[in-house]
Each structure stands twice: as C-alpha cells, then as structure tokens.
C-alpha cells in the first residue's frame, strides 16, 4: 500500500522535475529583454520557476503536515493498487502493441484478454465482444469519418 505522504511527495517531485526541465529548456530560447521584445524563453522560464517553488512548498507541506491529514493516512490500499494495475497495465500493453499490431488487432486482443483471462466473461462472449469492438472501430472511423487508424507493422508486412 501507498501512504498519502508518499503519494504527495512523489507527485511534488514529479511536478518539480518537470519544472526544472522547463527552466533548463527555456534558457536555450533566451530569457529577458532583447531588441525584439520579451524573449521567447522568458514566460516558460517564469512558469518553470513557479512550478519548482510551488512543488517545493507542496513537498515540505507533504512531509510536515502528514500528522494533520492523519485521517486519510493511506492513499491507496493494496487491494486498490491491484485494481489500478489491473486496469492500467493491460491498457499500457495495448498502447505499446499499437505500432506493431495496429489499432484494430490490438484493441480486439485487448478487449479479449481483459475479459477472458480474469474470467469475467465466457470465452465465446469475450471473443464476440473483441470482434465487435474492432469492427465498430473500422466502420465508424475508416468508413464513416474517413479517419485512418494505424494498421501496424504487422499488417504492412502482410501487404495491407
């Protein structure tokens, strides 16, 4: 399980490092005043500074006030964490599979595996739903709205 304090710290560190990246990157564009007016990097530089300072404040507050937010000391219990992973990990694998398998095959596999592997649905029903998802995507996007979704390297290799 993950405590509220750890989550606050992690988020503050994440936001803060984004701020640092913004500050460093905006220095390349130049900050301050030049003949062309305010330099391109100035505004991002300032927002980066604000992010860093704000995150430092949140970081310190997250450490110090852990006692006062004690009525919610645990942010994510282990059961919740498992549920989160159960949703997010397959979703991430699905996104990772898109360049290779293409949107249609990847989404069908995704729906099938999410429904069939934890036995939420019977095999044939999961298969039917997977096929229906891919077909619906194809009809709506490729046919109705003429938006081409990625077909993937696999389909390209097979000559589609």
């Amino acid at each position: 399980m993950i405590s509220r304090r750890a989550l606050e710290l992690a988020t503050a560190v994440l936001a803060g490092s984004f701020g640092v990246a913004v500050v460093v990157s905006s220095l390349d564009n130049g900050i301050g005043w030049s003949s062309a007016g305010v330099d391109a990097g100035t505004f991002p530089f300032l927002t980066g500074i604000v992010i860093v300072l704000g995150s430092l404040y949140n970081l310190v507050r997250g450490v110090l006030s852990a006692a006062t937010v004690a009525n919610v000391p645990i942010a994510i219990t282990s059961i919740e964490l498992r549920r989160l992973a159960g949703l997010f990990v397959p979703a991430a694998i699905f996104v990772a599979a898109i360049p290779l398998a293409g949107m249609y095959v990847a989404s069908a596999l995704y729906v099938f595996s999410v429904l069939a592997i934890p036995r939420h649905q019977s095999m044939p029903r999961a298969l039917a739903m997977a096929a229906a998802t891919a077909l619906a995507l194809y009809v709506v996007f490729e046919r109705l709205f003429q938006v081409s979704l990625p077909h993937g390297a696999l389909a390209a290799a097979l000559g589609f």
Binding site: A10, S26, V50, A75, E80, R83, Y110
Partner: protein, 512 residues
C-alpha cells in the same frame, strides 16, 4: 432592444430541422458520457471535436453545447438512481437525491432535479442574452494590457476562489502554461520546450491532455472502488413529473438564490462543481428544514442542481465575450472555436453574429430538448449502468486512445495521453484542481502573447498595467484574489494560534 432582435434572428438559425436533430444527437451522446463513469463532459466534447471539422461552425457549436447540457443532466441521473455521480459537479445531488429515490420517490427526485436544472440553465441563458454583447462591447476597446489583466484576473480567481489548496492550484496553472508553451512560439517563431523530441514541435493538443486527465484519470479513480450499481426503480410516472415540477415555485427563494450563486461561479471561473457544493452548503444553513438535509429534502436537490446548471451555462458568457472559458468544458469548446477559424472574444459579436446568436438561441431550445429527452430515456440509460464496469472500462480506454490518436494522427499523442492519465489520477487523488490546468493549456498562449505585446508597447515597463483605471482595477483585483488565501490563513492563525489546519481534510472533500 437590439439584443431581442438578434435573439429572434438566432432562433431562425437554431430552430431548423438539421439543427434540432443535431441537438437531439448531442444531448443523447451527452447523457451517455454523463452517465458513464470515467467519461465526462470535457472529454466527451473533445472526442466529438475532430468530427466537427467539416461542419459549419454554428452547427458544430450547437452539437457540442447540446452534448454539454446532456452531460450535465446525465450526471444527475446516476447520482439520484445509483448514488454514483457520473460527473464531479453532480456529487452534491447525491446527498438528498439518492435518499429520496431510495424512499420510493425516484420520479419526484428526478423531476425536481431536472426542473430546477432547467430553471438554472434558463437564468444562465437569460444572463448571457442580455450581458454578453454588452461585455463584448466594453471589451472591444481592450488593448493587450487590458487583455492580459483579464486573463490574470481569471487565473487569480481560480487560486482565490477555486477552493482547492492555493499552492496546488498555482502549480496546476503553471504546468498548464508550460505545456501550452511547448512547440513553435507564435511571436518569435523559435521552437520551445521540445526537450529534444522533434515531434513535439507541433505542440501538445489540449484534446490529448483532456482525454488523459479526465478520461484515463477518472477511470483509474473509479476502478479503485468496487463498483456496485444498486439501482432503485427507474420507472417514470409522468403524472408525478408534472406534479413535482408544479411544486417547484414554492421553493422560489432557493431557486433564485442557487441560480445567482451558479451564475456568479460560472462567470468567475469557479465552475459548476464548486457552485453546486456552495449552493448546497448555503441552502443547508439557511433553509428552515436545514436539519433534515441529507434525508431526501426537496431543497437539497433543488439547490445543487440549479447552481450546477446555472454555472455550466453562464460559463459560456466569458468564453464568448472575452475569450476566457469559465469551466473545463467551456475551455475545450473554446479550443474548438479556434480550430474552426473563429476568434473567441469580443470580435465574435461583430464578425460572426449568426454564430453567436444562433448559439445563444440554441441554448434555450437545447435545454428544453435536453429535459424532454432525459426524462424519456431514463430507463434506457439506467439499464446501461447494469453493464459490469470491467466491460465498460476497456471500451473507454479504447475510446480515449482512438480519440487522442485522431487529433493529429500521431502515436506520440497516444503515449502522452496515457501519461496525462497518470497525472490526472495523481492530481485527483491529491486534490490538485484539473480545470485550471486545462484552462491554462487552452489560453496560455493567448495570455503570453497579450503580455508580450503590452511589453512591446510599453518598451518593457510594467507601468502599462497601471496606465488607466480599468487595467489597474483588474490587476489589483487579481492580486487581491491571489493574496486572499494567504490573508484567510493568517487571520485563522491569528484567532486560534494553537490549532493548525484541522479542517483541511473535510474541506478537501468538497472540492475538485
């Protein structure tokens, strides 16, 4: 009355068969995203956005705004029947709506909610009808300095009145600004903040951010809790509908007060969620039956619903007349306006009269269509809630992935969308507000341009922000709002130095 004439002209645009059909489609899709947890008005509207590129702007905005009304109504349906708020802004409706429905009066609860929601929306639209063009006229005289001051005031009011922890709001805003700055700088043409990734030159679309923050993020929050849809009966008794609506005028004070709170919170970017909570809290304090709140009180339904819809509607006023959206959904719609080639702000009232007044007229009609459709379809959408969450969740993931991809046919957008999903989850979990983040992504560039243009005019001197009364008032007001939380904190410490902020967790629950 120029406005009324323009409005009548607007009705001739809005009340045509294709537009009425678009309203019906929009409202139904809106109820759908409103009912489904994990999909809400902001990402519902951004999902539809790519499909509107080929449309006339006025048809497109009618479709999108109808979806917004539908989503606002749909959120209340699940709040009342299932005790599951489909939208953050309908959380307060669960407090009295669900108890009343559970006690065997679901029709009364629903009809009361929809009736007062329609009243709130009506007040909001009337406000827009009479105020929007006036505000736009004033704003026509604005220079870059005044514009920056108005943006500054908008951002500051999030910090001062948004209700979330002020520093977290500031961080959310600043992150939004930084994301808005990614890509090619419109003033100098130089490439900024791409961190070495060439594909980022095109910038980060707000649609991608909204899909992740609100779509995946909300899904992750929803999956944490075991999902029980224990429905009370969803049968509608039509006679009771009219009786319940007929009883509404008895609560005239509550209706008017909540509408006023809603309009205020919608125009200043407090947003519908804050408005409904605030209205509920005030009603509980001032109502004679305040002690019974939470057990199915009529006013406990009227107050949040009226304020929610009044705020949702009036959030479009600053978007239309100043180019500053009052809520996350309004921000997404404004992004759409810019994509369709319109320039949100006062010039809209001069250049695209048909668009503005067609939209305003469609709000009157759209809300009537929404009330009728939502009452008729309650059983259908209630049945939808019985589909297990494990089936709905992957479908929503796929919708978000496809939605993010279709913005600019970029795989990188899909990966970023997933990243925004994690950020959205963390932010929701830790009470960082999401609306300012989206707002900053959409109008960050404009605020920056306004600042740089005014600096060019004044040759680098900040005195331009105190050059005349108007701009000084706006800037001073903004600074006052920024400092408001600090002042409140200090006075609290002054009064009782021994007790540190014990009330924050309770307060935190009320906001998001």
């Amino acid at each position: 009355m120029d406005n009324l004439q323009e409005l009548l002209h607007g009705f001739t645009i809005a009340v045509t068969v294709p537009h009425l059909a678009l309203m019906a489609v929009g409202v139904l899709l809106g109820i759908l995203v409103g009912v489904l947890p994990g999909l809400g008005a902001p990402n519902g509207v951004s999902l539809l956005l790519p499909l509107t590129f080929g449309m006339q702007p006025v048809s497109a905005i009618i479709l999108l705004s109808s979806m917004y009304w539908g989503a606002l109504f749909g959120g209340s349906v699940t709040s009342i029947l299932f005790n599951i708020p489909g939208e953050p802004s309908s959380v307060a409706t669960t407090f009295d709506g669900y108890p009343m429905a559970r006690d065997g009066r679901p029709t009364t609860a629903l009809a009361t909610a929809f009736g007062s929601a329609a009243f709130g929306a009506l007040i909001g639209v009337i406000l827009i009808t009479f105020l929007a063009s006036w505000v736009a006229q004033v704003a026509l005289a604005f220079g870059p300095a005044e514009y920056f001051a108005v943006y500054f005031l908008a951002f500051a009011s999030f910090v001062g009145m948004g209700g979330a922890a002020p520093v977290k709001t500031v961080v959310a805003l600043a992150i939004g600004f930084a994301i808005a700055a990614i890509g090619i700088d419109t003033v100098s043409g130089s490439v900024r903040l791409t961190m070495g990734v060439d594909e980022l030159v095109k910038g980060v679309s707000f649609v991608v951010a909204v899909m992740g923050l609100f779509g995946i993020g909300e899904l992750l929050v929803a999956v944490e809790e075991e999902f029980h849809a224990r429905a009370v009966s969803s049968k509608i008794d039509w006679r009771e509908v009219f009786r319940a609506v007929g009883r509404l005028p008895r609560h005239g004070v509550a209706l008017l007060r909540s509408a006023a709170i809603g309009c205020w919170m919608g125009i200043t970017p407090g947003g519908p969620t804050a408005a409904s909570f605030m209205s509920y809290g005030i009603a509980r304090r001032f109502s004679r039956r305040g002690r019974h709140f939470g057990t199915g009180e009529v006013e406990g339904i009227i107050s949040p619903e009226t304020a929610d819809h009044a705020a949702g509607t009036s959030a479009l006023l600053p978007m239309l007349s100043l180019g500053i959206p009052g809520s996350a959904t309004a921000a997404v719609m404004m992004g759409g306006l810019m994509i369709w080639g319109l320039n949100p702000g006062p010039m809209l009232f001069v250049d695209s009269k048909d668009f503005v007044w067609g939209l305003i007229a469609s709000m009157y009609v759209g809300n009537i269509v929404a009330v009728a459709l939502v009452l008729m379809t309650v059983p259908v959408f209630a049945a939808l809630m019985r589909i297990p969450f494990v089936v709905i969740a992957p479908l929503i993931v796929i919708i978000c992935v496809v939605g993010a991809y279709s913005v600019s046919n970029s795989y990188l957008d899909v990966v970023m969308m997933l990243g925004f999903g994690i950020v959205g989850y963390l932010f929701k979990k830790l009470f960082y507000p999401l609306a300012p983040l989206v707002l900053a992504i959409v109008i960050g560039d404009k605020a920056e341009d306004a600042f740089r243009q005014s600096m060019l005019i004044s040759k680098g001197s900040l005195s331009i922000f105190f050059a005349n009364k108007l701009v000084t008032c706006l800037i001073v007001g903004g600074i006052a709002l920024l400092l408001l939380p600090l002042v409140l904190q200090l006075t609290r410490l002054w009064r009782r130095p021994a007790s540190p902020a014990i009330d924050t967790p309770a307060q935190e629950k009320v906001i998001i």
